[in-house]
């Protein structure tokens, strides 16, 4: 007799060996489980533990803005016409009445002025994109500074950085679609940059633009790439990113009861669900309100694109500002020989741009190689306890900010009454000097903080109570830290640098220590050597001091 798999049997005849469900909800769940196996799926996940730290919300903002961008983006595609066919504008915005423009621009005008709520959705789309890239960058920095990219999470670091690059690129494309005077300038910029590529530049440009600049193909082509190709790839990467986060579980900071082998926090259901789900609405709400208040990209103020016109405050969105800075501060070197031109002034920045991004992308592998550390890490570093890494991160950010300033040199000049030339010269020198300076300052600062931690552990914290000793001296009483604080401040590890491989083996035969091995030993010394960490207090030191008078 078949008792199982008989889906047609009524309620009176049990469909499976399972006991009768208690209510409708359980019945529905049973039905789904019979087809999708949801119980097995949910078993370990419903009450999965998520550690809590404010900085985890940065990644959440990325996710939520991405969802907002997709939702609003779908709405916009319903009204937008990705076409560069010419038309004459007869809409409600009087200043542009009777002006020739592309259908792309005209339909963006319609979305802004004729479609009810269209302007709002356009603004939410753009604002969300700005917040998206910003959140990705900050989220990445959080992961970087806490060393959360270390094994086993290197691959997720690659996915995440890939998302950042694609996000920046897709933002640039979206910005180019309305075919307004500002976005046209961006496309012109891209043409010049592609032309600067040696050998194949002109071919790439003609194939991408469908002929000479501006042609009529670029907007429809960008549209497909912007709404289909890149978001598709990003969605895939994002899902992979989240699956890995789920699989690896979050990192956590060292603290009482928190070890490399456990994860302490609240369960997915209900607390994390409520908090994370609620946070989505908070983010969406704030972006909606911001879009009602602050206008971004008012294309009607710029006018339609004409290659012989330009608006004076030509600025890309902020995340492209760093490439803009590179292009602005590069001297105009051009090499002309044998009937060819190599446009270094554009080509060099074009190459440096991905290099700066790549540097951060490959960092986990570099660090793993230098330190030779092959263990899994789940305890997040406090940035001060990894001074060299923190220094690198800060140097990278300082370069980013410097170039951003260079990219906005015209705005800086007009707002602060500075000379554009001076700003440019400053950025040129700063490109080489500022990151190095930042590195050393940050590193020293971290060491200072380590020293202070050590002090606190050994001498306790200042209690604010002043005591007068019998012989008249005033001292401030230092209070012993409680054990959980002591643990927190001393839980980090302090590896020693790799030693240079021996030059002769035990039989006196010269060993060839590879150049690479030597370099690695050097780097490892820089990373973990004397100048790069303050020795942690030991239990004996602590004992010696505390067994005394309890002050000082």
């Amino acid at each position: 007799m078949s008792t199982a798999n008989n889906a047609t049997s009524g309620a009176s005849k049990p469909a499976s060996t399972r006991a009768k469900p208690a209510n409708k909800f359980e019945a529905a769940a049973d039905w789904t489980d019979g087809r999708l196996g949801i119980y097995t799926l949910a078993k370990s996940n419903l009450r999965k533990i998520f550690p809590d730290h404010w900085s985890f919300m940065l990644g959440e903002i990325c996710l939520y803005t991405f969802i907002i961008i997709i939702l609003t983006g779908v709405y916009l595609t319903l009204f937008f016409k990705p076409s560069m066919a010419e038309t004459v504008y007869h809409g409600t915005y009087a200043p542009l009445n009777g002006i020739r423009m592309s259908e792309a621009y005209a339909s963006t005008m319609d979305i802004s002025f004729e479609v009810r709520g269209g302007l709002l959705i356009r603004q939410i789309h753009h604002w969300a994109a700005i917040v998206f890239v910003a959140a990705m960058l900050v989220h990445m920095m959080r992961v970087f500074f806490t060393g959360a990219f270390r094994k086993p999470r290197e691959i997720n670091w690659l996915f995440g950085a890939g998302l950042l690059f694609l996000g920046m690129f897709d933002g640039f494309m979206g910005y180019s679609l309305p075919d307004d005077l500002l976005s046209g300038t961006g496309i012109r910029f891209m043409e010049g940059a592609i032309l600067a590529v040696p050998l194949v530049g002109t071919y790439l440009q003609f194939f991408l633009y469908g002929g000479q600049f501006p042609g009529t193909d670029i907007v429809p082509r960008f549209f497909t790439i912007h709404v289909l190709l890149i978001p598709g790839i990003m969605l895939g990467l994002l899902v992979a990113h989240l699956i890995l986060v789920f699989y690896h579980k979050h990192t956590q900071f060292a603290g009482p009861g928190r070890t490399e082998k456990n994860v302490v926090g609240m369960p997915l259901m209900p607390v994390y669900m409520a908090k994370a789900g609620g946070f989505f609405f908070l983010v969406f709400g704030v972006i909606a309100a911001a879009s009602a208040i602050a206008t971004v990209n008012p294309i009607w103020a710029y006018g339609p694109y004409r290659p012989d016109q330009v608006s004076t405050d030509a600025q890309p969105d902020w995340y492209m500002g760093f490439s803009e800075g590179l292009i602005r501060v590069m001297p105009g070197w051009e090499i002309r020989a044998w009937g060819h031109t190599l446009n270094m002034g554009v080509f060099v920045p074009l190459m440096v741009f991905p290099l700066v991004l790549m540097a951060i992308w490959v960092y986990p592998f570099l660090e793993a190689w230098v330190t030779g550390d092959k263990r899994e890490h789940h305890i997040a570093d406090r940035p001060r306890n990894a001074p060299v890494r923190t220094g690198f991160g800060a140097a990278w950010i300082s370069l980013y900010v410097l170039l951003l300033l260079g990219g906005g040199n015209d705005l800086l000049a007009t707002h602060l009454h500075l000379s554009i030339n001076t700003i440019t010269y400053f950025v040129r020198v700063g490109f080489f000097v500022v990151p190095v300076l930042t590195f050393f300052i940050t590193k020293r600062w971290c060491l200072g903080l380590q020293r202070r931690d050590k002090d606190k552990v050994l001498h306790g914290r200042e209690s604010g109570i002043i005591k007068r000793l019998p012989h008249g001296e005033f001292v401030e009483i230092h209070e012993q830290l409680p054990q959980d604080k002591l643990y927190k401040l001393t839980a980090h590890e302090q590896p020693q640098p790799i030693e240079l491989p021996a030059e002769v083996d035990e039989n006196g035969v010269a060993l060839k220590a590879g150049r690479l091995a030597k370099a690695r030993a050097k780097l490892s010394g820089a990373f973990y050597g004397e100048g790069a960490q303050i020795a942690k207090p030991t239990a004996e030191e602590h004992h010696e001091i505390t067994s005394g008078h309890g002050h000082h």
Partner: protein, 354 residues
């Protein structure tokens, strides 16, 4: 290479793992998870009730805001502009829709978070982690299975088969690349020519003022002024207009002859009137800022600065070479004309540029 970090270089994990009692005498040992303290709402039912009301209130505000959103959509005219204090003149509909939507969404979020923080359990629970790496036994097992599979395929044994497979796989993506060829025409020498190439000494092309759409006479052009011009016959409603103007646009200036520093440049002009390409040689923005006194033209995109009195030499910024100049003269009726194309390609530089 086996210069891996030896174990003695790595610090031992001190203290205890998990919940073992702190090692006696080690002040830095892990004291274990702290005891859980209740919140106000856990012990005081009145506080809990209050939190409940607060959460519900937030959800109700959200409902009202959504109703407000719909009402605004229906009631407010899309053309209506209102003045709102720090913002200035804004679209009333956009403002109302955005604010109501913002409040509706935000309140749901705030309610949910408040609920989670005050009324759901805040008890932290530890869960174990398991190493990602498989144990040795599993590893050996899988590798063996793979080797069996590989041996059965004959991949390693039949070299010719393997090599031809690799070869065909390497070549097949080329079809995809080749298919992209028809995306656009070949560049040939198109970048080296502009619309002015139609001009010949026998059939010169008039310079047309961009603003007035009229041909220009030398006497119309005052010293120190800046005018933009296009070639005769190029009209805005032509299909090729955008593509042509991207290369043909001219910047006409008049400089007192004694101020001209470059002889060739002066000869290309007419009585101190010079016609330069308006397209920046950096990446192609149109140049629009001209300073009469210094004769400097500045590109607003990346601030390349050209000295128009000195053959448009680059004096600052990232541009790599001077602006091309168009030779001009006058025809028998006294209008400014060009008799040929620019001497060199206009716009950003590229590999094939001579």
């Amino acid at each position: 290479m086996s210069h891996e970090m030896s174990d003695e270089k790595l610090p031992e994990s001190h203290g205890s793992e998990g919940h073992e009692v702190a090692v006696h005498g080690d002040p830095f040992a892990d004291p274990g998870l702290p005891a859980h303290g209740p919140r106000r709402t856990d012990i005081d039912e009145r506080a809990a009730k209050r939190a409940e009301r607060q959460v519900s209130l937030l959800f109700i505000v959200s409902m009202l805001a959504t109703v407000g959103f719909i009402a605004s959509y229906v009631a407010i005219d899309i053309d209506k502009i209102v003045y709102i204090f720090p913002l200035g003149h804004v679209s009333a509909l956009n403002f109302a829709l955005g604010m109501t939507l913002g409040v509706a969404l935000f309140c749901i979020g705030a309610g949910a978070v408040h609920w989670a923080r005050t009324l759901m359990s805040d008890h932290e629970i530890p869960a174990d982690r398991h190493p990602i790496e498989a144990d040795d036994e599993l590893r050996a097992d899988v590798i063996e299975q793979f080797q069996t599979g590989a041996a059965e395929s004959g991949f390693g044994r039949r070299k010719m088969l393997r090599n031809t497979l690799i070869g065909s796989m390497a070549l097949v993506p080329l079809s995809g690349v080749v298919l992209l060829r028809d995306l656009g025409p070949l560049p040939e020498d198109k970048l080296a020519h502009t619309g002015w190439e139609l001009a010949t000494p026998a059939k010169p092309l008039k310079l047309i003022n961009m603003n007035t759409n009229e041909p220009m006479k030398p006497e119309d052009i005052v010293t120190g002024s800046l005018t933009f011009a296009k070639p005769e016959g190029l009209e805005e409603d032509q299909e090729i207009f955008q593509e042509q103007i991207a290369k043909d646009a001219l910047m006409i200036i008049r400089i007192a002859p004694e101020d001209l520093k470059d002889k060739t440049s002066a000869e290309l002009g007419f009585e101190g009137i010079l016609a330069y390409s308006k397209i920046c040689t950096h990446v192609g923005c149109p140049i629009s800022l001209y300073e009469q006194q210094t004769h400097h033209a500045l590109c607003p995109c990346h601030q390349s600065t050209f000295d128009l009195a000195d053959g448009a030499r680059v004096i600052f910024g990232p541009a790599g070479h001077p602006l091309p100049q168009l030779k001009i003269t006058t025809d028998e009726k006294g209008f400014l004309v060009a008799t040929g194309d620019f001497q060199e390609p206009v716009g950003p530089s590229y590999w094939e540029r001579p």
